[in-house]
């Protein structure tokens, strides 16, 4: 049992890429963004209710182009400004109303700019870490974790930023869990493996709430007591610099550390020349002609 003084902070990062969700709404009308947000709200409410004392949940939603994030801390100690209309615990009704309102505002403000359809995963994770750190520095001893609900595909351009964020999270002892709706994400698999979180790709989107409550609601200490899906085998193979193929054995330039799948005498990144010593040719021994007597 968690002690009375322990604060557990859950940050839920929901991918609300409007393009993906719009297409999803057309593909599968029974599971739309509204349903997804409902499930997320259920999860958030459950987390707040799990332990009476001081569990905070913050939801950050990220979207491309406008770089608008929505984040809010929900603390049981805050005085609720609004009463609840249906007798619900005030904190929950405040949370739900706030989330719904913000999402509506966010969507209303969205404008199409350009062709990019990627979600800013790295940026939003970084923002979450900053919020966590801010709360930590406020003097409270906290255990925090981030739950990422991902809809769209990975963006290869964010790789470096993403890896930096992952290592920063590892240093801060922040777990990153991932719940992936559509296609497997190698980046998130790595993030979960490195920080010690759980990665799950959901077969049925409509049962999202069930998966969230079953797998992602318990915190790190409680997870060791439960039987949860086993960790995924992560493909840590490097990609060669020339073709971007994933290779197991390759050639590494000793000057710039770039990886190649084939040997080439000049490294294309740093232009250093290399020579592989060939095996020595064994000279055939000259037979001495015996002088005739």
């Amino acid at each position: 049992m968690a002690s009375e003084d322990e604060i557990s902070l859950l940050v839920i990062v929901v991918d609300v890429n409007p393009i993906w969700w719009g297409q999803q709404g057309q593909r599968q009308p029974e599971f739309t963004l509204s349903k997804c947000l409902d499930a997320v709200m259920v999860m958030a409410n459950s987390h707040l209710v799990m332990t009476r004392t001081n569990k905070l949940a913050i939801i950050a939603i990220f979207i491309i182009w406008s770089f608008i994030f929505f984040s809010h801390f929900f603390d049981s100690r805050d005085e609720p400004s609004l009463g609840s209309s249906d007798g619900k615990y005030e904190l929950l009704s405040v949370a739900n109303d706030l989330i719904a309102e913000e999402i509506k505002n966010l969507m209303a403000r969205t404008q199409v700019k350009g062709h990019q359809t990627d979600t800013l995963l790295a940026g939003s994770l970084a923002k979450s870490l900053c919020c966590i750190l801010k709360k930590c520095l406020a003097g409270q001893d906290m255990k925090s974790r981030i739950l990422v609900i991902k809809a769209a595909e990975d963006c290869a351009l964010q790789y470096m930023n993403f890896m930096n964020v992952i290592f920063a999270a590892q240093k801060q002892n922040v777990l990153i869990d991932a719940c992936v709706l559509d296609s497997d994400s190698g980046l998130l698999q790595q993030a979960c493996d490195i920080t010690g979180g759980l990665y799950l790709k959901i077969p049925q989107k409509i049962a999202l709430a069930q998966y969230l409550l079953w797998v992602f609601l318990p915190d790190a200490d409680q997870r060791s007591q439960l039987v949860l899906p086993p960790p995924v085998h992560v493909d840590y193979r490097a990609a060669c610099f020339c073709h971007r193929n994933l290779i197991e054995i390759g050639y590494v330039c000793s000057v710039c550390l770039s990886i190649f799948c084939n040997f080439s005498p000049i490294c294309t990144t740093c232009e250093t020349a290399f020579k592989i010593p060939l095996p020595q040719m064994i000279k055939p021994k000259k037979k001495k002609l015996k002088a005739a007597n």
């Binding site: 057309q26 409902d38 980046l187 409509i206 086993p230």
Partner: protein
């Protein structure tokens, strides 16, 4: 009785051991004692077993010699011959003193070293148990590689032992005590004697000349302390004193040191004539008696300090330069002129320059020039073909979602149907669709811990044997040939005595996985290599 081949070095009669009369025999490799009238030895100790010997102090009535063994037990011999007991005991003691060191170091250092290594490293201990105790390989082979390393360390540390310095106050430390009846007792230890010899080589010379033919050690030192050489007022009383020559030598030495001057220009007060020190004019004959004695003492002090310093420097010099043996003992040694300029320069440089303040002239480095940075930032995510969305698609999706969200109201009571929830639960339960990969990872949980540790020991032992085996290739020398054959037989023995019983044990416990398959592969690879080598050898011979 003693073996015929043993040479008896000393026989002492009338030695009692445990209140029985008998005879003590000292032989080349052991010391033995037999009771009176009997033929055989009741007590026999090899010199290698003796740790140290002790003698009873001088004043005691019983004259005894005690031998303490390495095992801790001790044997005491009482020399009971009325007239010659002391001499006998001393003779025995001296002989033992010479013999013991020869045998001491050889046997036990090795055993101690081995025991220490086994105790410090439990893995090594386990390996030893597995391989040597169960007779897969012999103890010599086991220690062959390991002891080599430790013995070389030992030797190098011995050579670098530092020299013990001489305390400047060693003469004062002797601290004579009054004997009660107008005599003085001087306690001399070997350290003090050594210091005296090193500082005053003249005394050492006298000692070598006179002891032990003319004087005993005790007499020599008594004379030394009685002589005026030692005492304050060095008035040369006459030629009977042994040490009057020493006094004259010292005077000469002191004068030559003064003449030679100071080598290090940094501490030379007279350098460059910047200081004029009032030198006592030797021509002035009107000296008071008090001045005389004062100057004598000051001269003695200076000489003593100079000798101590010279002794310290001498040690350093002799160790580095054999040729300086020619240096005489009073310090007027080498030709100082040829050495002066470089020393001065070196000393000056040392004084002015500090390493830390020098300019950094590190190794020249070449800057890294990269042509294509973006390759690093692209991760191992392979370039997949995107779903390319046309701008029309984008716009329509966005408008669709905006429409949806504008009328969004959270409806938390109808988030999902119960059927969907229960199917999700089934998938997450053990054995469900999402839990499949878990089964593979529990081999470490299936196999009990003791079998796991035994497997680990087997791996360590097999690794050790295989390492010896593979290090023999390429087989160049006949020694390696023998070793290869020996290792092959060792591997076979290991397989039959250790691996097969282990496998049998596992099978009896119904563990399905074949835990030793990898070990067998490794050993099979070694066998194949051995057979191939054997074939090649036979073909070469024919």
């Amino acid at each position: 009785m003693a073996a015929l081949s043993e040479e008896v070095l000393l026989v002492v009669k009338k030695v009692r051991q445990r209140k029985q009369d008998g005879t003590l025999y000292l032989m080349t490799e052991r010391i033995a004692w037999g009771p009176e009238g009997k033929d055989r030895f009741t007590v026999s100790h090899l010199y290698a077993d003796i740790r140290c010997q002790k003698i009873s102090p001088e004043g005691k009535a019983k004259i005894q010699l005690q031998l303490v063994l390495h095992t801790g037990e001790s044997t005491t011999f009482h020399f009971a011959n009325e007239s010659t007991a002391m001499k006998d005991r001393d003779a025995a003691k001296d002989l033992l003193q010479q013999l013991l060191p020869k045998f001491k170091k050889k046997a036990n250092k090795e055993l101690e070293e081995k025991n220490r290594m086994l105790q410090e490293d439990p893995v090594l201990f386990q390996l030893y148990k597995d391989l040597v105790v169960s007779q897969v390989i012999s103890a010599e082979e086991f220690w062959a590689n390991r002891l080599k390393l430790s013995s070389t360390d030992h030797f190098s540390s011995n050579n670098n032992k530092q020299e013990v310095g001489i305390s400047a106050a060693f003469l004062a430390d002797i601290r004579p005590q009054t004997d009660g009846c107008n005599g003085l007792r001087y306690n001399l230890t070997t350290d003090i004697i050594e210091s005296i010899f090193r500082t005053y080589p003249a005394v050492k010379q006298k000692y070598a000349e006179n002891v032990p033919h003319n004087l005993t050690e005790k007499d020599f030192w008594t004379r030394f302390f009685q002589s005026h050489y030692f005492h304050r007022d060095r008035i040369n009383t006459g030629l009977q004193d042994l040490f009057s020559e020493c006094a004259k030598q010292d005077e000469k030495g002191l004068k030559s040191m003064v003449v030679q001057g100071v080598k290090n220009p940094m501490v030379d007060l007279l350098y460059g004539n910047s200081l004029h020190i009032a030198c006592p004019s030797t021509s002035n004959s009107s000296k008071t008696v008090k001045e005389n004695s004062n100057s004598a003492i000051i001269k003695r002090f200076n000489h003593h300090s100079a000798m101590v310093l010279a002794a310290g420097l001498r040690k350093m010099d002799t160790s580095s330069d054999q040729a300086s043996e020619t240096s005489s003992t009073d310090g007027n040694s080498r030709d100082s002129d040829t050495f002066q300029p470089p020393i001065k320069k070196v000393k000056l440089q040392e004084a002015i320059e500090y390493e830390d303040f020098q300019n950094e002239t590190g190794p020249k480095t070449i800057a890294l020039k990269l042509k294509k940075f973006d390759r690093y930032s692209h991760g191992p995510v392979p370039l997949q073909s995107h779903h390319y969305s046309t701008s029309q698609d984008i716009i329509s999706s966005v408008s669709c979602i905006q429409e949806e969200m504008s009328c969004y109201k959270p409806c938390l009571t109808q988030v999902m149907s119960s059927s969907a929830a229960s199917s999700a639960i089934t998938a997450l339960s053990p054995g469900g669709a999402l839990m499949q990969t878990g089964a593979h990872q529990t081999v470490s949980q299936l196999v009990p811990v003791d079998i796991q540790s035994e497997l680990k020991h087997l791996y360590t032992a097999a690794g050790e044997l295989l390492r010896h085996f593979w290090s023999c290739f390429p087989v160049n020398t006949p020694f390696l040939e023998e070793k290869v054959v020996k290792m092959q037989s060792n591997l076979e023995r290991f397989q039959s005595t250790k691996l097969h019983p282990f496998q049998g044990k596992i099978q009896r416990e119904y563990l399905s996985s074949n835990l030793i398959s990898h070990l067998e592969e490794m050993i099979q690879a070694a066998y194949n290599k051995f057979h191939a080598w054997q074939m090649r050898r036979m073909m070469k011979k024919t």
